[in-house]
């Protein structure tokens, strides 16, 4: 059960978008479908542009990775030097360490500047939050988040991924959200951040030159996750032999190292010396030897496989409509995927047009990032506001930015969002968000502007009867109509 609420404008903003900002509601009013589609018509709407001065602190993934590799190398040198100095001192000064200066308030050690990796991560977080805060409806952003979670990477992997996870999303996801699925798939799987995340640089063809010289071999991680998570889906009929075969096909897909022997440090390269030579059989089809074209051919076939179409259709319908999506919706999305060669724009339009999107009760919960974004939007947050509080909130909500628990991404099931600790976290965030605001207008007016005319009577009463404006706002952020979508 829940919200029997079927206000189309509320569905447009909450199920499809990132929540209304004050004054937004009327924009979706008469024609919510058209309102959503108008976002799709804007050219480059999904992109984060370097031309925007607000994004001047963003770097390409190549530059991010190169900077992180250089910083990591420098830290290693510093550690070695320090160790050597301590060893030398121990030799000359016997065992009497020099008296350490007592820390006082005046000369207490300054907090060191954040690492380059953290600075880049924070800049990327800010850019993502800025897009979320300024989007008209937020459907395009939601589509980006869907694909970014489908093709997730995690900053917990290492400092290089931390520095470049945002750039990965900007380079491999955003430009392709309205292209063909095959284009996004190839952009993702050849991106250095994904290759690093799923260990492909370590995977070496056993019969390749590198494999023979150094006795190294395969790492199946990337191959398995592409099949299980990115394309066909688990249980769709591929075998372990297919996984291993695909891993051989993918060998050589790597990135250039710090010294740049294979290319510009941090950039994608195909290392033919690590690629397993020869023809390969995969899903019953022979892919002839052909360097990196061999894996591209496999990816192109996977992108058009009926299992992939169904896998994506289920995930899309589950994300936007319901945990157990209406079969008709899944069938429709599957057939559009197949008929239109994985045209992601066609899938987005299908979602907007299908009646199930508007008639299914709003039983889902806003995902953590959507919740944080909706609060920022409702409160008219400065788009350029320091992102650290939002980053912290995402941690509290158990969905730290670009840090899913595994390559299957963050859960998309309401049972995981509507957990006791999850609701406790939302309660605390609602409280904090309300506390921060000092210039609050009438909370009843704000509630009407954010929830629209079909808000529950009980919600309106709870807000009207709150004992302070801060409490009224917190109640708004906790209202079922604000949580559910």
């Amino acid at each position: 059960m829940t919200a029997a609420n079927n206000d189309a404008a509320l569905i447009a903003f909450n199920r499809f978008g990132l929540g209304a900002r004050p004054g937004d509601f009327a924009k979706a009013g008469d024609d919510p479908r058209g309102f959503l589609k108008s976002e799709l018509r804007q050219p480059d709407i999904a992109l984060v542009s370097y031309d925007d001065s607000a994004n001047s602190n963003l770097l390409t993934s190549t530059a991010c990775i190169e900077a992180a590799m250089a910083a990591g190398y420098q830290r290693k040198l510093d550690r070695n030097r320090l160790a050597a100095a301590i060893a030398a001192q121990a030799d000359t000064m016997a065992a009497t360490p020099p008296p350490a200066a007592a820390p006082t308030q005046e000369n207490a050690p300054q907090k060191p500047d954040p690492s380059i990796e953290s600075q880049l991560f924070r800049a990327e977080a800010q850019a993502r939050l800025r897009k979320a805060t300024t989007a008209e409806a937020g459907f395009v952003e939601r589509f980006v988040y869907f694909w970014s979670n489908h093709f997730c990477v995690s900053i917990a992997k290492n400092n290089i991924v931390r520095a470049a996870a945002g750039a990965f999303e900007r380079e491999a996801i955003r430009p392709f959200v309205f292209s063909r699925f095959a284009d996004m798939l190839i952009a993702v799987e050849r991106h250095p951040v994904m290759l690093l995340y799923l260990d492909n640089p370590q995977s070496v063809g056993p019969h390749s030159r590198v494999g023979r010289n150094r006795g190294r071999g395969l790492n199946e991680n990337l191959a398995r996750e592409i099949l299980e998570l990115h394309t066909l889906g688990v249980g769709s009929g591929y075998t372990q032999a297919d996984v291993t075969g695909f891993a051989r096909i993918l060998t050589g897909w790597t990135l250039a190292g710090r010294e740049g022997r294979l290319g510009e440090p941090g950039s994608f390269v195909f290392n033919a010396n690590a690629h397993e030579p020869g023809d390969e059989t995969f899903l019953g089809k022979v892919y002839p030897a052909g360097g990196m074209g061999q894996a591209e051919a496999v990816l192109n076939d996977l992108a058009r496989h009926p299992s992939t179409a169904r896998h994506i259709a289920v995930k899309l319908a589950r994300h936007f409509i319901a945990d157990d999506p209406p079969p008709a919706a899944v069938a429709k999305l599957t057939s559009v995927f197949l008929d239109r060669d994985g045209d992601l724009r066609a899938l987005a339009l299908t979602l907007i047009d299908m009646p199930e999107s508007w008639s299914t009760p709003m039983t889902k919960m806003r995902a953590p990032f959507e919740y944080v974004a909706a609060i920022r939007r409702a409160t008219g947050a400065d788009p350029n506001q320091d992102p650290r509080q939002s980053i912290g909130w995402l941690h509290v909500l158990g969905a730290p930015l670009w840090q899913p628990p595994g390559p299957n991404g963050f859960s998309d099931l309401v049972s995981d969002e509507a957990s006791p600790e999850g609701l406790n976290a939302r309660l605390e965030i609602a409280r904090q968000a309300a506390r921060r605001l000092t210039d609050i207008g009438d909370p009843d007016d704000l509630a009407a502007a954010i929830l629209g005319p079909t808000a529950f009577e009980e919600t309106k009463q709870a807000i009207a009867r709150a004992e302070s404006k801060q409490q009224a706002l917190a109640l708004l952020f906790m209202a079922p109509e604000f949580q559910r979508r």
Partner: protein, 412 residues
């Protein structure tokens, strides 16, 4: 205007100790109280949610009181007898310290008081109470900040920043005069009834979320109660706000007691909106009043030698209904109490022009009829404690209030 917590305060203090102390003493104060050796402190406590004045200070001598306020009425008999203040009024037994201060003539009550606001919205009522304007719609600055800002530059009170306690700066002390912010660490714990309100909403509209939230809140409470050391094991009040009040007061007192500390402070305590199961001499309201009582003690002890120059005033946006409602609580009303405490207060008195509780004597046949304007109490404090002129008070601090005369003689 709000600055961050302990850091800036400490560093500013360090600077003063190193180089500014001599200058501070060399300054010649111009105000009469200062010539008399006083260095006044003014502490304003905003009680958000509308305090039931009739269950805080009960008019036990009024023949209609016991019947009208029903289970919530205070009484000198029974298992939890109220603490008599005079032959007519008695204090809720949850406030023994306030009673002690009252006996020592360091606490007073103004009863049947209200601002000029007559509707019953918390938000508007608090805006009026804190902005000092006659009606709602003014939310940029508060009267306490304007009072600070209107003091002569270089004057000792004005030279120190005001102090705002809590995560947000209460409207009453927002404005042009610089304000320090400080929050007790433990106020990061939920200290209001937001959770139970959300739970109530979910029970009506979203049972699945209600179940999850209830489990989550229970787990949270157990974790807090278990604590990590023995000191945390003592049972906590059901209404977490009570302990928070004492902690806030303790921290504020520590700051205000410093020689170069803030002279003017604002605190806000939530949770007084007792629509359901209010309790009388015991229960929800009594728990909150005990917290407020503890806060007075924290100020008394923490301010030490400065207590004799301190005035504390606790105000709320309006009172509650004289009749109890269908859920053993009270709804939004009008007249209520103002509580005063401190060594500077001429205490031991309940100041009231009692309107009576007969049906014809009630405001709109439901509320305690206000006979004192809260602004006149505040004006009296600002005039006699901080030395503000009647003219300044009537146009800058409480705009358009020339008809509201300062209540004089509140101070020793």
């Amino acid at each position: 205007m709000k600055r961050s917590c302990a850091g800036p305060l400490l560093s500013r203090r360090a600077t003063l100790l190193a180089g500014g102390a001599l200058f501070a003493w060399a300054h010649m104060p111009r105000f009469a109280y200062a010539a008399a050796g006083r260095d006044p402190r003014l502490i304003v406590i905003i009680l958000r949610g509308a305090l039931d004045g009739l269950a805080t200070v009960g008019p036990i001598g009024d023949p209609d009181y016991a019947a009208l306020h029903g289970k919530l009425a205070l009484s000198l008999s029974g298992p939890h007898p109220a603490l008599p203040l005079d032959s007519f009024f008695a204090l809720n037994p949850a406030m023994p310290n306030f009673a002690r201060l009252y006996g020592a003539k360091q606490a007073a009550v103004v009863h049947a008081a209200a601002t000029g606001y007559r509707d019953r919205s918390h938000f508007d009522g608090q805006d009026v109470l804190e902005s000092g304007y006659p009606g709602p719609g003014h939310v940029a600055t508060g009267w306490l900040n304007r009072a600070l800002a209107s003091l002569p530059a270089g004057e000792r009170i004005a030279r120190q920043n005001g102090l705002a306690v809590g995560f947000t700066t209460p409207l009453v002390i927002r404005g042009a005069a610089p304000i320090l912010g400080w929050a007790p660490a433990s106020s990061q714990e939920p200290d209001d009834d937001l959770g139970s309100r959300v739970l109530d909403l979910y029970r009506h509209r979203d049972p699945a979320l209600a179940q999850a939230l209830e489990e989550g809140m229970t787990a949270e409470k157990m974790a807090t109660d278990d604590g990590v050391n023995g000191a945390m094991m003592k049972p906590k009040a059901n209404f977490g706000g009570a302990r928070g009040m004492a902690l806030a007061a303790r921290g504020a007192a520590r700051l205000i007691a410093q020689d170069d500390g803030p002279r003017v402070a604002a605190l806000e305590f939530d949770g007084w909106d007792t629509h359901v199961a209010e309790g009388g001499a015991t229960g929800r309201l009594a728990t909150l009043l005990a917290g407020l009582d503890d806060a007075f003690v924290e100020f008394e002890q923490g301010l030490g030698a400065h207590w004799k120059d301190t005035a504390i005033v606790a105000v709320t946006e309006f009172g509650r209904t004289v009749h109890i409602n269908g859920t053993i609580g009270t709804d939004h009303g009008t007249g209520t109490v103002v509580l005063l405490a401190g060594g500077a207060i001429k205490g031991g008195r309940v100041i009231a022009d009692w309107p009576g509780l007969k049906p014809s004597q009630l405001y709109e046949a439901r509320d305690l009829n206000p006979t004192v304007d809260v602004r006149s109490v505040l004006k009296g404090l600002l005039a006699d404690h901080l030395g503000l002129s009647s003219a300044t008070l009537a146009d800058q601090i409480f705009p358009d209030s020339s008809g509201v005369k300062p209540l004089r003689d509140l101070l020793v």
